[in-house]
């Protein structure tokens, strides 16, 4: 009885793993991008004439984080 329930859970645990992977990745990526955004805004507010350079660097850093997050999501979606 217990064993059969456990076996049934074991088949679903993969889905749980995928969901957890995606959730943790999204939290982490959101945290990282929010830090970049807040620092960039502070930087632009302090020095508005450097806004263009800061914006380019911000997009690059955000895209790098996003790339890592998308790696994790692709791995979770297609490989796990």
């Amino acid at each position: 009885m217990l064993l059969s329930i456990l076996l049934q859970v074991a088949t679903d645990i993969g889905i749980l793993g995928k969901a957890l992977t995606v959730a943790i990745t999204v939290i982490a990526a959101g945290f990282g991008i929010s830090k970049i955004g807040s620092s960039a805004m502070e930087g632009i507010a302090r020095q508005p004439e450097a806004g263009g350079d800061i914006r380019i660097s911000m997009i690059i850093a955000a895209a790098l984080i996003e790339g890592v997050a998308l790696f994790a999501i692709v791995v979770a979606g297609f490989i796990l």
Partner: protein, 351 residues
């Protein structure tokens, strides 16, 4: 993403088997995201309205074949021994069976939905850009208005803000590739968001397309790299034991060479595909709740429509940002491969 939601999803008898969902949202989303042999537009009263596309095959058994994809529908899904596989390794691809009954795949050069969309997109882009270029050729001095003027601002924003500062002094050699790259990705992203015929295919959300783009970036970056760039990869300035008995640094550099275009490929693919999947998921929410009572279904419909419009605007922003990011990363990689020899001695002499 095409607007074709099949008509079978209209409400079913309530209280029947709750396990048998009337709409398999996952299947529907995957079906709309994938490439196809015909361009399905709508299903009306169980009749499929679609544009048939040519299927070009080279099979070992019967040689080269060219026929329309409508032949599959006319002949119950099987024509000249070819059919579209329903399950297994080649699901959704044209296959034939060999003597022992196994499914084998012929060499498939069919003009599929994505390929046609790619051709249409490129053709429209060339026409559009040549039209703008002609306006400048005819009257180079006169300030431009309307579409041409707007495109001038757009092109110059990419050219002056991305290409010139990021690539550095050799930007003239690379500007054609970078501008083409930007407008190709941007135009195809936007075309993918148009739900009716010329758009709607998931072109830049197809990993083969982004692979080609990333591969051309890889080739351009590495074929035009300087001697110092290759020295940095194969003989970097690190302790010798990291290079000769155990080439750790060289392995790391070579892996970095591959991961850069790989990240470009995954980023564009996943962003565009996820955008299409979100819109399709929200659309299928309407059909999932369709048989759950009037109040829930109508409120969910309104909610979905509002969210879809919101996501569509986000996707237009993403279409621009992803084209921008792809271009800027290509420019950064090019800049990284144009390493100049150090000029320390000269500066010492001058001081």
């Amino acid at each position: 993403m095409s607007t074709s939601l099949s008509a079978e999803v209209v409400p079913q008898a309530e209280g029947s088997n709750p396990e048998a969902a009337p709409l398999d949202a996952k299947e529907l989303i995957l079906e709309h995201l994938k490439d196809d042999y015909e361009w399905h537009i709508a299903t009306y009263k169980n009749k499929k309205i679609s544009i048939p596309l040519p299927i070009i095959l080279y099979s070992k058994n019967s040689g080269a074949q060219l026929f329309s994809s409508a032949k599959f529908d006319q002949n119950n899904g099987c024509y000249k021994g070819f059919y579209i596989s329903k399950t297994g390794k080649y699901k959704g691809k044209v296959v034939e069976t060999d003597a022992s009954g196994n499914e084998i795949r012929p060499i498939d050069l069919s003009l599929t939905k994505n390929a046609l969309s790619l051709l249409i997109g490129s053709f429209l882009l060339i026409i559009f850009m040549l039209f703008i270029a002609r306006a400048y050729k005819n009257e180079p001095v006169k300030p431009k208005k309307g579409l041409v003027g707007a495109m001038e601002v757009f092109i110059l924003s990419v050219y002056d803000d991305v290409i010139k500062p990021v690539v550095g002094e050799d930007y003239k050699k690379y500007r054609y590739y970078l501008l083409t790259l930007f407008f190709f990705i941007f135009f195809n992203n936007i075309l993918g968001l148009v739900p009716i015929f010329p758009g709607g295919a998931n072109v830049t959300g197809n990993i083969a397309v982004t692979l080609t783009l990333a591969l051309s970036t890889f080739l351009i970056v590495n074929l035009t790299g300087t001697r110092e760039y290759y020295k940095g990869i194969f003989w970097p300035d690190v302790p010798v034991w990291l290079k000769f008995p155990f080439p750790l640094m060289i392995i790391i550099e070579l892996v970095g060479l591959i991961t850069k275009p790989f990240a470009l490929m995954i980023r564009l693919f996943a962003n565009i595909m996820a955008g299409h999947a979100i819109v399709l998921g929200l659309v299928s929410l309407i059909f999932i709740t369709a048989h759950m009572g009037a109040a829930l279904s109508s409120s969910m419909t309104g909610f979905s429509v509002v969210l879809i419009i919101f996501i569509y605007f986000i996707e237009m922003l993403v279409a621009y940002i992803q084209a921008y990011v792809f271009t800027i990363f290509t420019a950064i990689f090019i800049n990284g491969a144009r390493v100049k020899p150090p000029k320390t001695e000269k500066s010492l002499e001058s001081t």
